[in-house]
């Protein structure tokens, strides 16, 4: 059974600082997704990581995937207040579109 651990659960960081969110999963997965959720809103797709060593960047966010270690990271560079949200990682069950979500990381960026 695919299980997902995400840490930290809560992250309070100052504007301009860097930080990394970690996503560990328990069994083989061939694809991993990152989503952002604002309070009271649905999920916004950020990244899809398709293979070992994949790295994708969009603005101040960069995601990577190590399938051998069963680890994905979401790195935040020079955080700004607009990045405040909850971030979820979700590896998919192998060769399906069924996602198993991590616990989420609630990010709060303050001046």
């Amino acid at each position: 059974e695919l299980k997902v651990e995400q840490n930290p659960l809560f992250l309070s960081m100052q504007e301009g600082k860097n930080y990394t969110i970690y996503c560990n999963y328990s069994t083989t997965s061939d694809r991993l997704y990152w989503y952002r959720q604002d309070p009271g809103k649905s999920l916004e797709s950020l990244f899809v990581l398709l293979s070992n060593g994949a790295v994708k960047q969009e603005g101040r966010l960069m995601a990577s995937l190590d399938t051998k270690a069963r680890l994905s990271t979401l790195h935040i560079t020079a955080a700004v207040h607009d990045l405040s949200a909850t971030y979820f990682c979700a590896p998919r069950r192998y060769n399906t579109d069924k996602l198993i979500f991590g616990t989420g990381t609630r990010l709060q960026v303050f001046p």
Partner: protein, 113 residues
Amino acid sequence: SAVISQKPSRDICQRGTSLTIQCQVDSQVTMMFWYRQQPGQSLTLIATANQGSEATYESGFVIDKFPISRPNLTFSTLTVSNMSPEDSSIYLCSVRTGGEKLFFGSGTQLSVL
């Protein structure tokens, strides 16, 4: 990207009643997925809906409680039956419309009194 509309966006219901949630996609998709997000929690997959066949449910979810219809390739409904306060959640549908991304609907926030 996909345009996925869910109705209703929110509802407040009495225990023991049922609510049907609709999910409409702007293109044809093979599979649609229904998720639940309990307050302050992550998302959990309820079931997968394929057109022309019965939905397949995840462990802990049963058809009597969450019947699903999938009459065509752009539409699905999820019914939450005989509701209790524990069913208070956000319910979301998800699809992949070509490409690699999986998109989520706007969600239905359900409160059961």
